[in-house]
Amino acid sequence: MTVSGRFTLLIALGVVPIVLLGRSQAAAGGILALWLLLSVGLGLLDLALAGSPRAVRLERRLPARVRLGETVTSLLYVTNSGSRRLRALVRDAWQPSAGAGNNRTPLSVPTGERRLVSLPLTPFRRGERRVDRVTIRSYGPLGLWARQATLEAPGRIRVLPPFNARKHLPSRITRLKELDGRTSVLVRGQGTEFDSLREYVRGDDVRSIDWRATARHNDVVVRTWRPERDRRVVIVIDTGRTSAARIDNETRLDTAFEAALLLAALASKAGDRVDMVAFDRRVRGRVQGAQGAELLSRMVDTLAVIDPELLEMDWAGVPAQVRAITSQRALVVLLTSIDAAGASTGLLAVLPQLTRRHTVVVASVTDPTTVQATHERADREQVYRAAAAERALLDVARVAAAIRQQGADVVTGPPADLPPRLADHYLALKLAGRL
């Protein structure tokens, strides 16, 4: 139960009769008592005439998924099953990061009818956003006093990673097609395999003319090539402690998701089979055996609800995870962070096991502020800062060198550049036939 601003105003208006008619203190006191009695009486009457906030049926319609940064509409149907008209203020209690904005809606529902409360949601955080309750404050016909009840109306919406790196996809697919024989510019290399024969058209590389076939036909025939297909790509995402670090307003984990999604989209276009596992001490998410469009939708769905865990990454468990996915030779992409030598011993210890069987790429985000700090050396503080930054970069360089020594590749970049660099590295490996 509560009172409204109108009731407060009504009481405040009592000052008019008190000042105008209250000649003596006793008379004024009597008017005050009468006015308060009148106000409270009206309030009680209003409360008795208010519709019950409990006699309400609620029905929700929500889209199951939304990409981070996009807006969807949450629909809530409020049916008045009580015997009096419901004049209410309805609060749909979404979690703050669901981005509901002003979630209070005034509503007037006649008996037995239904009204719609629609709320635009612009979530600003990835994951599962929930709503558990709806609070209804029902005012009386005078709008003085109100009844209030909180009703259960659960709902949820899954906010998917934004996949901003998809803008890099068309250019990489173009490059992939250049590897493929389908474009006129034929790029031939170790990593391509014979695809088919077709007639020579002007502009084709004369070196690809198949003379034997030309002799059989009456026309000049060229060979076309295509990249190797049906290779395995295994993406391992480190969701441990270090993935929580925030670089350029984005956690390492989010950058890893972007890179993984871009690589998966590109590799599935190239005909390779992509599997993914998010792992720290146990498996947080796994996508296996999906192809084409289903792959990406399953990946974003799985990744949406994964948050960094405050656990040390268990590198010793990674080879077993890869083995569980495939026994063939595969491209294993480890999306993790390369820091000081001490923190990377676990990674360095298991790399030989992986590189013996697979091609391994370690991808890590670098911090642009660290690089920036090495150039600023104006005063004492900045020189020490530059020294610390150089020391951090040297540590990273040492670990990267150690990783290369173990036979793995290293791809690093600031958050915006890491996904395209990883995609480029994949294309380079494909061209070189190292998959």
């Binding site: 004024a28 309400v56 909180t150 925030r246 690089v371 970069l393 380079a428």
Partner: protein
């Protein structure tokens, strides 16, 4: 899509009845505690020694109810008065009154004391103060506290005092000059007396130095009762006058309360109620708060900043400069076309050859210079940057190689930078 159609939604807010049922125990416990507290206060208050001293209806040790009750039983009509006007009205209504007066707080001014002394033919004043003595009997002074008191004494001409025989020592006394006309009873030492009698033009005045003589506590001691009844009981009417605040003359300008119109106080009360209503209006939450688990995020550069502060705090100049130098040497090595792991001497020679600077100078910048102060450190760091810029300019390549150069199989992923 989530549908909850069919039945009414389940409410998590308890109904009024349920809330009352749940809080019943605490409400009952609170009421019980309140009752116990009230009962305890009443019981304790009955035995306390509060109340106005010498009030006619005060049964506490300091009161005088015992004396008044005995007087009433003896047929004396005792009337209490709170102000001079009241006492005057009563005195005018009775034929031959006796006045009992005690003013320990000194409410009366000397005009009013004179007026009081003119009310009745017999006046008994208990614990007179300085102003009263000055006004009525200027010859009488204060005599201090008496350790011992004798009998009535030879200056005693009060029948009541002579009948009483003696009073208990330990109380205040009044002093009389040796040759004065006043009567003094119960002497202590030379000129101090417990009871003093004086004849004024308007009244027979009796001054009793110590008020405790008439109190419930001590009325039974020594000859107190006989003295009190003798002094107060000669006539059928006794006026028991204890001044109160109403006797204080009102002076100065009228107070704020008298100047304000009648509606001001009720308006202030109304404002208080408005404040209360506004507090409820704004304070009532529209349903419970919604909790949300937020993920942990740490700025990645924290460790770098922390290390920088450690360097600065411990003045690790050489260590800091070493970091800068090692990084610069590695960058220069790649810049002049040597491997990252090339020996320092090779790098120094190559850089010297490229920039035209003397090898010793290059070596000083890259290796030998030891910073003694922070100023040195900044200077050395500037020299390093100068050298690097000179090498970049001399080698004729852009300062930063294209960042997004696609890696090839032969050149594995380049570190950034």
């Amino acid at each position: 899509m989530t549908t909850l159609a069919g039945a009414d939604a389940v409410a998590t807010t308890p109904t009024l009845r349920a809330a009352a049922r749940r809080s019943r125990f605490w409400v009952l416990a609170g009421v019980g505690a309140l009752l116990v507290a009230i009962a305890a206060t009443l019981l304790a208050g009955a035995g306390s020694s509060g109340g106005t001293p010498l009030a006619a209806d005060n049964a506490a040790p300091a009161g005088a109810r015992a004396l008044v009750e005995v007087l009433r039983q003896q047929g004396v009509r005792v009337t209490t008065a709170d102000s001079l006007d009241e006492a005057r009205t009563i005195a005018a209504a009775s034929t031959d009154p006796t006045l009992f007066f005690s003013d320990p707080n000194g409410y009366l001014t000397n005009d009013r004391i004179s007026a009081m002394a003119a009310l009745a033919p017999r006046t008994v004043v208990v614990s007179p103060d300085f102003l009263l003595l000055q006004t009525l009997t200027p010859a009488v002074g204060f005599g201090g506290v008496a350790d011992s008191l004798d009998g009535p004494g030879d200056r005693c001409d009060l029948p009541a005092a002579i009948r009483a025989g003696g009073v208990a020592p330990g109380g205040k006394t009044l002093s009389l000059p040796a040759d004065s006309a006043e009567i003094g009873c119960f002497p202590s030492g030379r000129n101090s007396f417990a009871v003093v009698g004086a004849t004024l033009p308007s009244t027979e005045l009796t001054l009793v130095a110590d008020g405790a003589i008439f109190s419930n506590d001590e009325i039974t001691a020594s000859g107190h009762a006989a003295l009190a009844l003798g002094l107060l009981g000669p006539s059928a009417d006794l006026i028991w006058y204890l001044p109160t605040l109403t006797d204080v003359a009102v002076t100065g300008p009228p107070s704020l309360g008298e100047l304000t119109p009648g509606w001001v106080t009720p308006s202030i009360l109304l404002l208080a109620v408005v404040f209360l209503a506004a507090a409820v209006w704004q304070g009532r939450r529209l349903g419970p708060l919604v909790a949300e688990n937020l993920p942990v995020t740490v700025r990645a550069s924290e460790t770098m900043e922390g290390r920088a502060r450690l360097y600065a705090r411990s003045n690790a100049r050489l260590r800091a400069l070493d970091s800068l130098r090692v990084a610069t040497v590695q960058r220069l090595a790649t810049r002049v076309g040597l491997s990252r792991l090339a020996s320092l001497d090779d790098v120094v020679l190559a850089v010297s050859a490229l920039t035209g600077r003397a090898p010793a100078e290059v070596r000083f910048v890259l290796v030998d210079g030891v910073p003694a102060t922070d100023r040195d450190l900044i200077a050395q760091s500037d020299l390093l940057q100068d050298l690097e810029r000179a090498v970049i300019a001399a080698s004729g390549l852009p300062a930063d190689p294209p960042a997004s150069a696609p890696p090839t199989a032969t050149t594995p992923g380049r570190m950034d930078p």
